[in-house]
Point group: C2
Amino acid sequence: MATGRTHRPATRSRGIPEATVARLPLYLRALTALSERSVPTVSSEELATAAGVNSAKLRKDFSYLGSYGTRGVGYDVEYLVYQISRELGLTQDWPVVIVGIGNLGAALANYGGFASRGFRVAALIDADPAMAGKPVAGIAVQHTDELEKIIDDNGVSIGVIATPAGAAQQVCDRLVAAGITSILNFAPTVLSVPDGVDVRKVDLSIELQILAFHEQRKAGEDSTGHEEGADAVPQPPVAPHRTAAGSPGADSSGRQGPDGDVPAVMPA
Amino acid sequence: MATGRTHRPATRSRGIPEATVARLPLYLRALTALSERSVPTVSSEELATAAGVNSAKLRKDFSYLGSYGTRGVGYDVEYLVYQISRELGLTQDWPVVIVGIGNLGAALANYGGFASRGFRVAALIDADPAMAGKPVAGIAVQHTDELEKIIDDNGVSIGVIATPAGAAQQVCDRLVAAGITSILNFAPTVLSVPDGVDVRKVDLSIELQILAFHEQRKAGEDSTGHEEGADAVPQPPVAPHRTAAGSPGADSSGRQGPDGDVPAVMPA
DNA sequence: ATGTCTTTGTGAACGCGTGCACAAAGATGG
DNA sequence: CCATCTTTGTGCACGCGTTCACAAAGACAT
């Protein structure tokens, strides 16, 4: 999972559960594909398979939107596409600004999936003066100084942060002050925002770490269970005793983590 | 949320809940920052704030790993960094291949967050013969024909798919056949994989759609509640009657969605 | 019109995740 | 050695999300 809302713990937005909202785009994509193949109707079973979910879950999800199906037949594809689009707010145009036009920001600007669903890249913003004016994905990059003006002029309410981690909070604060109320954060940092502002985050590194966890478990499930080495490598806390508060790294030599696949002992 | 495992419904991997595993990288990042500042110990309250979670949740998460804290003091930063790294499998080296070196693939190859946590980009693979040999992020791109050999030679078990949606399943199948057991998928498609293979997905478009939903709700929460227009725009299903099965779009003119912010009536 | 068959919509049970609140553990000071 | 104070670890309850299973609804055939 590369995401997770930060505030708004489980607000059950308008009777529609958060988990359901997160799946609606999935259904919409599957339905759009069917629509392009001119399929008139689809059963919950078929659509669920296409979206990769359980059919019961799909039916319950749709039940939050209303009774849009016909028993014995299924769902009208075109009609459902419209209803979900409307529910997600995709029947209107959403101008978006991308802040931080590095490798990732440029890739996002070029990403076709944005424009295809009502999201329009209104502006690209970068702090590097050398970037200003250079066209990326057909749009001239603008300097951070213009941030507030750009957002105000275009009525932007969604911002994408693709800056380095160090700059993210600062950029976030400016976006929020300028009126942005929804943020998609690609920087590996926890952003703090006032109530009323939604933050979703995508962290590539975290996704890989979760995969590594499962991968490790798969690899070691035939062994003793887990580690078997006996030599304690990283030193147990040995009763911290609050040693002055200094002694920086203490005995752990290199900072960049005690890597190397040294086995460790379970300390209890 | 840009993610979600596909198979392995809720396997509670080795006593550690999936939700906890997903948060471990978050803790690890916060702890690494503290470690760099040579902070020796940290309380659950402080660390929770830094990671953006509840302190009770953090303590419960850590309790699954073992009793690594000292009551009255807190947690030893260095020790905890090591324990979490080990639990996540980050004490070993994970070679990764990236398939699809377009804008996104190139951005991923350049992304520093990969290398910083034990993930090493072993190879970049693309189907375009013109790309072969061209260096991206200091690594020469190789052709898809070499895929199986590359994976076998380097003992790669984690693959990243950054191809267009149309090619994703095919690439996925080849990766799995070649021995890959963990996949991070950036293509907007549902991948089907055999049991034992983990898939996590990151979908930029879906994240934006979820934000749009909440944004729309915020915008319209002072109005009548929701829509108020009376003219039904998209046509209700009017009893499908299973009309032959032809009449493709029927009356809905343009395919690419009935956009424009037409208000709609709630059909019941 | 009646019966059969398909598929939806949902009531109910279950399990996971979250958060509260507190007892146990250990540090610290006298 | 005892008292006090801090902070962990966790039992418990609650709520959300998932899944099952089935009744109701409508299509379709005769």
